[in-house]
Subunit: 377 residues, 2 copies
C-alpha cells in the first residue's frame, strides 16, 4: 500500500470493486530489473497488465514487450515501442496473425514445433525465431503445465528446420514457472539451453540468445527473494553453463513488474454461517471473486494478502467467496483464510499484490456484474 | 446442430471463434418444461445466457426470470417481463442493490441466513423471501459447493426471523447441482423442504412455495434423461412428501433451457507433439479456451461434444488447449480428448452444447483476445 493509493481510495466515491495501480512502483520495479540484470534486455509480459499507462511508462523507460496476440502488439506500438522492441512470444499463433505481426514490423517469434516454424517461415520470412523448451517448474507457486515448449532433445531439430527454411535460428527460451520462489530455478534450464547451443553449433548453426522468461515473483502472503538475488543467481548459472561465451539474454517479467504495484479495494457483502454447529466455518462473501478479476485464486494457487479495518482483532478461519451465483466462485475453502472475527457487512477490504493478472482475466458480464474497474495513477 | 445454424456458419466470413444460438431450440425447451411440469412456473436463470434475444423470446412465451444482480433485473425488465415475474435469486446481495431491486418493483428475494433477511427487511420491506437450503448434489456433473444455502435445520429460524421482521416467509429453495443426471435427485431435498414447511407451521408460519432450482441437464457427450422424466419424478416426490397439500412450485432452468441451442465454431491453431517419444500425447490448440468462453472445462467438469471435418477417421488421444499464454488454459489433459488423427491446422471444429455459460464467462481481454462473439438467430 502506497500513500498515493491510500489518497486515491480516500477520495473515491463510486460503487463496486476497483484496482488501483501506483505507477511509481512499476517504475521502481523496472529499474530494479535493469540494475540486477544489467546485460539483459527486459521484455515486459504485456498480458500481466496491458493498461496504456503501464505500457507507456515502460516504453518510455526503454522496455521491450513480450506479446501474446496481435492486439497486444498493437498496444505495444501505441505505447511508443518500435517494432524491433516487440517479441511475438506466444507459441500458438494463427498464420494470418503472424502475417499481421510481420506487416507491423515484428521480427522476433516464439516456436516450439516444426509446424509453427513452417507458419513463421511462410508468413514472416527471414525473421528470428527462438525455440521454447519444457522446464519442470519446481518451486513455482503457479507452476506451468506442459502446454508450451518441446522436450529439450527436440529443440535442435526445430531450430535447424527454421534455419533450413530461411529463418534466423536465434535462440532458446524457457519459463521456470510463475511466482518462482527459488532463485536457483534457472540453473537446470540454462544447462539444457547450453546443450542446445552446442548441438546447433555442431550442425553449423550459431545461436545467439537465451530468453530467460518470467517467473519473478511478487510478494503475497510470504516474503520472496529480492530481484537482486535472482540476478546474481542467474548470472552465476550463465557463467557455469556458457563460460565466457555468454549469450545475449532477455527476460519477460510480468507479475514481478506490476504485481506489487496494485491494490484492489473490495467490500464485504455478507458474513454468515451455514449452521449453528460450533465447528461450522464462517463464510465471508466479497463483491469480487474468481470471475471478477481474482482468477488466480483458482485451485487456491495465489493467496493474496488482505487488509481489513479490523486488523488486530482475533482472527478466525473464513471461507472466502465471490458474489456470483456460481458455486465455483469460491476463493479460499480448502485452506480457509484467517480474517478478523469482528469483520462486518459493508467493511472495505484491501487485496494486495493485485497489479498483475486481474483486470484482463475478469469476465465480461458474468451474472451481470461488470468487469473490474482499474485506475493507474 | 440445426439446419439454421449450419446455414448461418456457411455464410459467416469474419475471423475468430463465435457462438451461434438457435432460438427455435430455446422455444422448444421452454415448451418442454411447461409441458412436463404443468403446475410449475418457469424462472429462467438469466446468468446462463442473458442475450436480449433469448430474454425477449422467453418473456414473450410467459417465462419468469431468476436474476443474480441488478443488471440482470434490468435485462429482464427490458425484455418485457413485469417485476412480479422476477426473482432476485442471489443469496449474496448488497443492501443498496436490494433497495434498487425494490425500487424497480421486485418483490421476491432469496436468503440463506439471518443477516441477509435483515438486509431485505430494511431495503425491501414487506416482500416475499424464500430460504435456500444446502443439498448434497450427488449425481451432478458440476456439483455445487456449500456456497449457497444453510443447513435445513436452520431454515425455520431464518424464515421465522423474516416473519418477525414483517417479511412474508414464502418458501424454501434448493439446488440439486448443475447438469444433474439423476431424475430422483430432488427427492431428498423435497423431504427436507416438507419438514421445514411442518416446522414453520408449528411456529404459526404458513409457507407457500418450493423453488426446485435448476440442475436440468443438457446433452454433452453422454445422453441425459428427457425433461419429461424429470417432471414425472419431481411430481412423484412432491406427492410423497407433501401429500395432497402440494405447494406452489417454481423451477430455475438455465443450462437446460439454452445449453443445447448453441454451437461454438472454433479453429485449430496448432497440432503438435512435445517430443519424438512414441507414447507422447498429441496437443491440439484451438482459438478458444478456458478464458475465451469455455470456463466450464475447469477441472474438466463439462466435456463438450466436438465435431470436426475429419470425423470418421481414426481417433487419437489429444490434449486440448486454448490459445492464450496461460498454462492453466488447458481444457482436457487429465483425460485427453479423442480427435481424428488427420486433424489439421486451420480446420474448423464445432463445439456443441455451448449455449449456456459461455459468452458471459469469457474474459474481457485476456492476452488481448476479444470476448466470445455471439449470434442468436
Amino acid at each position: 500500500m502506497t500513500e498515493r493509493i491510500r489518497e486515491f481510495l480516500r477520495n473515491r466515491r463510486e460503487d463496486g470493486p476497483c484496482l488501483v495501480v501506483d505507477l511509481d512502483v512499476v517504475r521502481d520495479n523496472y529499474l530494479a530489473f535493469t540494475k540486477s540484470l544489467p546485460d539483459t534486455r527486459v521484455f515486459y509480459a504485456v498480458k500481466a497488465n496491458p493498461s496504456p499507462e503501464v505500457l507507456s511508462l515502460l516504453a518510455g523507460l526503454g522496455s521491450c514487450f513480450d506479446t501474446a496476440s496481435v492486439a497486444e502488439i498493437e498496444m505495444g506500438l501505441a505505447a511508443g515501442a518500435t517494432p524491433d522492441r516487440i517479441s511475438f512470444g506466444n507459441t500458438i499463433k494463427k498464420e494470418r496473425d503472424i502475417a499481421r505481426a510481420y506487416g507491423m514490423g515484428v521480427r522476433l517469434y516464439a516456436v516450439d514445433c516444426l509446424a509453427e516454424v513452417e507458419k513463421v517461415a511462410r508468413a514472416a520470412p527471414g525473421t528470428k525465431v527462438f525455440c521454447r523448451i519444457l522446464c519442470d517448474g519446481v518451486g513455482a507457486e503457479w507452476p506451468l503445465s506442459r502446454k508450451f515448449g518441446c522436450a529439450p532433445e527436440m529443440a535442435a531439430d526445430v531450430l535447424e528446420h527454421a534455419h533450413r527454411l530461411g529463418l534466423e535460428a536465434y535462440g532458446v527460451s524457457f519459463h521456470v514457472g510463475s511466482q518462482q520462489r527459488n532463485t536457483g530455478a534457472w540453473d537446470q534450464a540454462l544447462a539444457s539451453a547450453a546443450a542446445i547451443f552446442r548441438e546447433c553449433a555442431e550442425r553449423g548453426i550459431t545461436l545467439s540468445m537465451v530468453n530467460l522468461g518470467g517467473g519473478f515473483p511478487t510478494k503475497y502472503l510470504r516474503d520472496v527473494p529480492a530481484v537482486e538475488a535472482y540476478g546474481a543467481s542467474i548470472f552465476q548459472a550463465l557463467r557455469r553453463h556458457f563460460g565466457n561465451a555468454l549469450p545475449e539474454t532477455i527476460i519477460e517479467p510480468g507479475r514481478g513488474m506490476v504485481g506489487n504495484a496494485g491494490i484492489i479495494e473490495a467490500e464485504v457483502v455478507l458474513v454468515s454461517r451455514k449452521s449453528d454447529a460450533p465447528d461450522e466455518v464462517r463464510w465471508v462473501y466479497l463483491d469480487i471473486g474468481k470471475f471478477g478479476g481474482l482468477a488466480e485464486t483458482m485451485d487456491e494457487a495465489i493467496r493474496y494478502p488482505i487488509r481489513t479495518p479490523r486488523d488486530g482483532d482475533i482472527l478466525v478461519p473464513s471461507v472466502l467467496a465471490g458474489p456470483t451465483c456460481d458455486s465455483a466462485d469460491v476463493m479460499y475453502e480448502k485452506e480457509p483464510y484467517l480474517l478478523p472475527v469482528s469483520l462486518e457487512i459493508g467493511d472495505k477490504v484491501l487485496i494486495e499484490g493485485t497489479g498483475a493478472y486481474t483486470t484482463t482475466y475478469s469476465a465480461v458480464a458474468f451474472n451481470g456484474f461488470p468487469p473490474l474497474k482499474a485506475y493507474h495513477i
